[in-house]
Amino acid sequence: MSDPIINVELFDANFTTALCPELILVAGFFALMIIPNLGKATFRIPGTQIRVPYFLGGERYPIFANPRLPGWIATITLIVAFVSVLMSFDGGLQRYMIVSGSKELLLINGFSRLFELIFFGAIALAAIASMNRLQSFDSSDKSTNALYNNRRQADFYILLLTTAMGMAIVALAQDLFVLFLGLELASFSSYVLVAFHKESKEGTEGGMKYFIVGSVASGIGLYGLSMLYLWAGTLQLGELAVAFDAAMAPQGYPALPLIALGFILVGFGFKVSAAPFHFAAPDAYAGASSPVAGILATASKAMGIVGLTRMLLIVASPESNDDSAIWLVALGILSVVTMTWGNIAALGSDNPKRMLAYSSVAHAGYMLAGLTAIGAWNWDPELAGHGGDAAIMVMTAILFHLVVLVCFKLGAFLVLSILESEGEVSKMSNLRGLSKREPLLAVSMFIFMISLAGVPPMSGFMSKLLMVMGIVKVAIGNMGDAIFNGDILSIGDAHWVWWLALIMVLNSAISMFYYLRVIVTMYFHEPEGDRQGPLPSGWQVRTAIFACVIASVFFGINADGLIELCEMAANSLNYSWASQ
């Protein structure tokens, strides 16, 4: 990180370079609006018979009338955006700060870029997987139904792109309100995406519940922001951090920012589906189509983590030397409750999508445990030692987890999405005999499941290991040195977040049960009823699944590169602990 941050005003020289992926998204967005509408529309100059073609509307050209076209446009857009993010890493990442006057708006650094990778990657995979899902008709079919359905293709992908856009803004935002805007953009899009399947009771109901609870949560969050603003007079992250630090001990704890902190925690807590804010999530996942549920479980969760990171680690940053972050106990309890609740609830769940939803609640708990550990990074001046390293390690673990979560969690949803193409997937028994019907699909699901459970050598294991290592590193800190200098220390002398690690590994053992149930259902039971033979579906979604499988295994076996990337991103958070 030797290069300084370049400040970029709006539409400045470096603006397009800095925001290249976002601009690509915008371009894709417009392309999606325009291209499917290109047709032989003409405009008659009033009073004349001259018809000037203006191409938007009319009888559309066959090539643009293809109902699959929007899918391709969105996919290509997302992939290009993804690649452009990836390319920005090439030869050392140049950091940019988009500013407007004295206000910092967006920061482009390793951290935000990595999240963009997660978002774009996940949504691109979902876009690919959705391509054959929505009903489509030959473009020559002129019936209302056909037209209507073909138009919906574009709607769906536009919403995907806006989701991506909103998430990208969240990742980049340096102002809490900008972050909130991005969050809302992504949220609104996802509400609609969840409810997109409006021909079914479940789809609409899921969408509605997700919408209501989500709105309440973001209302609470917004109110929290307003209180924070009332207290500090700014929502700029940097300024807030300074103000917060100054206001905390030893002067005592002012009420306003603490209330605000609580409210904002709720807002983001809903996004990561932390208990008890997770209730709508299972319903939403069950109601939504599988790729959308996959987005909610991965990208949306990552977005929530970005919010939490910004709020907890930057604004309410745990800097004081003699004490831990103010939110430590609250978040610790939240994480334990979340992971345990998620796992226990998933144990008996018979709906695979709800099961995955609860499992994603549990995963949220693991990440919250990681965040809690960061909160404790400097818990004891002597024992914590190089706590900054530990905090970076935990952050690395969280980032790693989010990245690989896209591989296996989304992958699992994509497998379900193939199954959905033959009918509803609301029972575990719908998975029966998958190993006979589609051996490779079953193997993929198997890999996703054991990866979710954290069985080596899958990436899920690596991510859990990193998380445990990070937490333990925080908890143990420099004790090794102290012990060898003669101090008699026990595990009780380590920070209590060590117990979070224990609870976490025990939880992952509990989770084994329901992941195994999926595997058993696929491999043990015979196919049920009329669900026989290979599944119908296009090659696109299979490609996406294949990519997920490869990544799930690859990042487990050869994690080094990704760890370094995540470490770099974690470092680039650039706060007090990271600078040590």
Binding site: I212, I326, V329, A330, A345
Partner: protein
């Protein structure tokens, strides 16, 4: 590869080939098994090779030959004593704390001394003879068709085990071969696997001896811990013995003795032996008379150096007393049970137990003497100890020979009775369950039909009873005399001494009863009347053993009781044969010590007069009219008839008394053992198994079950109503406030 490297040849003599004695039969086993499997119904295999019998015989013959040469060498020079081979078998190490590790090795080797030599002869000789007998017995019985190779394979392995046990140079290898014998006896008793009774007898035999073996193993471990080795050369070293604590040593030896009790079927681990008669008769002869049961005796005899060590003087007498008492109890108890047995082989089985009891008493007495007397320095004491020990060993020898012969003879009888029955009931063969060829109730008057067998039986019985001048007389008198000798010193010994004296009379009764019921009197049924003579495979060993038993006076005259226990004593060096015999006769019948003089005649009166008289008066009778028998039976049968006619009395009162019923039920010991097994052991184990499923696994299942239930409860909170979800959000918000405020 430590095993083969450190071979060390002590002497260049025939003794070097001693391992072959074990190896030949051991290698014969797979050969027989394999060939038998492959050529199962091949005529050459069946008729010429006797389904492996000949191969076994060759192996046993070779073993016997090498054994005899070694014995000759040994007796000739005594030079080949001690370790012949000493190989390392296991290398390991012990840490005694501190910074040193003691390497430990367990070796294997051949060890030859006087006890080895004697047992070696008994084992090799009897195994060989019984092999001959088995060919005659097994191969003529259609029930064994096509599976005799299994018999011979197990048989030779058994012999290898016995020979190995005798020859090995450490208690460890003694134990190893001991266990191999246990396995073979299990297999052989269960040879007729299709009979439930055989299966359960085999199990019982293995199980009972196993209990003893466990103690033996623990005893050996204790012994190892005292000496750091189990090699005879080390543990018998007087300096080493002097270094150990006598109490611990006594514990160790006591534990080992329990092993011997199991193997030699002494009270209270005797229950297996009578049941073991389920095996084919050669097996009974081999295992349960001639060899295996001697293993226990051998083990106790091997303990002699501990008792004899000066440093232990007077310290181990309690154990000696226990040994003698166990022997005494068994001698009387088994004899009592033998009174009421109708099964020919069962009588012999109890007789075996009883006689082994004698040997144990004799050993106990000898060990007591060795432990108490200053025999290292006092020549008179030395003689007493040696002779006492020698008497026990001599009884072992006599009993083995006689009992082997008796079993073979009984086998011959059973065989022929069975054939006769088969012949008579040709039509309904295959359904002859009702007929018991072993029951003496189905015999009688066979003396005329089977002269050789009857003779052998007569001589054997006489030897066991201790009729003067024949076989067991010499040794039994010695045991009784020495028991009383010790009893005068140590009053506790009145108990075993009284037991063996009483037992002498009882032996006279039941052995006579057996012979008389089988061979004298009238045939009790049609079958017995049609019994024919046996074949020559069976007769040959009977003939040889009859001779050996009869000639035991020669052995006595050669000073068996002196040289057998004492390697210092040079064979035939003191006196000539005739002098020796005269000395022994004088010693036996004209003892200078009045006490022993009287004792001798009391014993003779009990065993040779009162006991047989009682038996004859109850079970006597003459042969069927017109039946002729060999001249030497005539006086016996005549006497028998005379006593019967003159003194017959009604014993039904006694026969139905509680004691008799108890004896018939083996004093209920088996019953209570069974009860203990079924009620306590099986019941307890079922309870434990249940606890394992219900409690330990139940806890796991509870976790599974409860977690599912909790899951249902937790999921039921997701009611489906959006309002509830929002309520939870509100609650969560409050909780977050609570915890943040709580910290702040």
């Amino acid at each position: 590869m430590s095993g083969s490297s450190s071979s060390e040849v002590v002497h260049s003599s025939m003794a070097e080939y001693a391992p072959l004695i074990i190896l030949l039969p051991m290698l014969a086993m797979p050969v027989i098994l394999f060939l038998g499997k492959v050529f199962n119904t091949n005529p050459t295999w069946k008729n010429t090779l006797k389904e492996g019998g000949i191969i076994a015989l060759v192996a046993m013959g070779a073993s016997l030959f090498i054994s005899l040469v070694i014995i000759k060498d040994y007796i000739g020079s005594f030079s080949n004593s001690g370790d012949i081979y000493s190989l390392t078998w296991l290398n390991t190490a012990i840490w005694e704390g501190g910074s040193a590790i003691t390497p430990i090795k367990f070796g294997f080797g051949i060890y030859i001394d006087h006890i080895t030599v004697m047992l070696l002869f008994v084992a090799a000789f009897l195994c060989f003879l019984i092999n001959i007998f088995a060919i005659g017995y097994m191969n003529t019985d259609p029930i064994n068709d096509n599976r005799n190779h299994r018999f011979y394979a197990e048989f030779v392995l058994f012999c290898a085990g016995m020979l190995g046990m005798v020859l090995s140079d450490s208690f460890l290898w003694l134990f190893i071969f001991w266990e191999i014998m246990g396995l073979c006896s299990y297999l052989l008793i269960g040879f007729y696997y299709e009979r439930p009774s055989a299966a359960s007898a085999a199990k019982k035999a293995f199980m009972t001896t196993r209990i003893g073996d466990v103690f033996l193993m623990i005893g050996l471990i204790m012994l190892w811990d005292l000496f750091g080795s189990l090699d005879y050369a080390i543990v018998f070293d007087t300096a080493n013995i002097a270094a150990v604590d006598s109490g611990s040593l006594q514990m160790a030896l006591g534990m080992m003795f329990i092993g011997a009790v199991g193997k030699s079927a002494q009270f209270p681990l005797h229950v297996w032996l009578p049941d073991a008669m389920e095996g084919p008769t050669p097996v009974s002869a081999l295992i349960h008379a001639a060899t295996m049961v001697n293993a226990g005796l051998y083990l106790v005899a091997r303990m002699f150096p501990f008792f004899g060590a000066e440093s232990m003087s007077g310290e181990l007498i309690d154990l000696a007393f226990i040994i003698a008492s166990i022997g005494g109890i068994t001698a009387v108890m088994a004899a009592g049970i033998a009174f009421v047995q109708d099964d020919l082989k069962k009588v012999l089985a109890y007789s075996t137990m009883s006689q082994l009891g004698y040997v144990f008493t004799g050993l106990g007495v000898a060990l007591w003497l060795a432990n108490s007397l200053d025999w290292h320095h006092d020549p008179a004491a030395h003689t007493i100890v040696v002779v006492a020990f020698g008497a026990a060993l001599f009884h072992l020898f006599n009993h083995a020979m006689a009992k082997g012969m008796l079993f073979m003879a009984s086998g011959s009888v059973i065989h022929e009775v069975h054939h006769a029955h088969h012949h008579l009931h040709h039509d309904d063969h295959g359904d002859d369950d009702e007929f018991d060829a072993q029951s003496m109730k189905n015999m009688g008057g066979l003396a005329s039909k089977m002269p050789i067998t009857a003779t052998a039986m007569l001589v054997g019985s006489a030897s066991i009873m201790g009729l003067p001048l024949i076989g067991g007389f010499w040794s039994k008198e010695g045991i009784i005399a020495n028991a009383w000798r010790v009893a005068l010193e140590d009053p506790r010994f009145f108990f075993p001494a009284a037991c063996v004296l009483l037992g002498a009379g009882m032996t006279g009764f039941y052995m006579t009863r057996m012979w008389v019921k089988t061979f004298a009197g009238k045939p009790s049924n049609e079958v017995a009347a049609h019994v024919g003579p046996t074949n020559s495979w069976i007769k040959t060993p009977l003939f040889i053993l009859t001779f050996v038993t009869l000639s035991s006076i020669l052995l006595a005259g050669m000073g068996f009781t002196h040289w057998a226990p004492d390697s210092e004593y040079s064979f035939l060096s003191d006196k000539g044969l005739v002098d020796g015999i005269m000395y022994e006769l004088g010693h036996a019948f004209a003892n200078h010590d009045a006490f022993f003089f009287i004792l001798t005649y009391v014993a003779i009166a009990l065993s040779a007069i009162i006991g047989p008289f009682m038996a004859m008066s109850l079970f006597g009778g003459k042969l069927e009219e017109g039946e002729d028998c060999k001249a030497w039976f005539k006086p016996v049968i005549a006497l028998n008839n005379w006593v019967y006619n003159k003194y017959n009395w009604d014993n039904s009162g006694i026969a139905t008394s509680g004691l008799a019923v108890a004896l018939q039920n083996r004093l209920y010991i088996d019953k209570y053992y069974d009860l203990a097994m079924v009620k306590i052991v099986a019941g307890f184990s079922n309870k434990v198994a249940e606890a394992d499923t219900k409690i330990i696994d139940g806890a796991v299942k509870q976790i599974e079950d409860k977690s599912q239930k909790i899951s249902t409860v937790v999921r039921s909170l997701t009611t489906g109503s959006a309002r509830d979800y929002i309520l939870w959000v509100a609650i969560g918000t409050l909780l977050i406030f609570f915890f943040i405020w709580g910290v702040a």
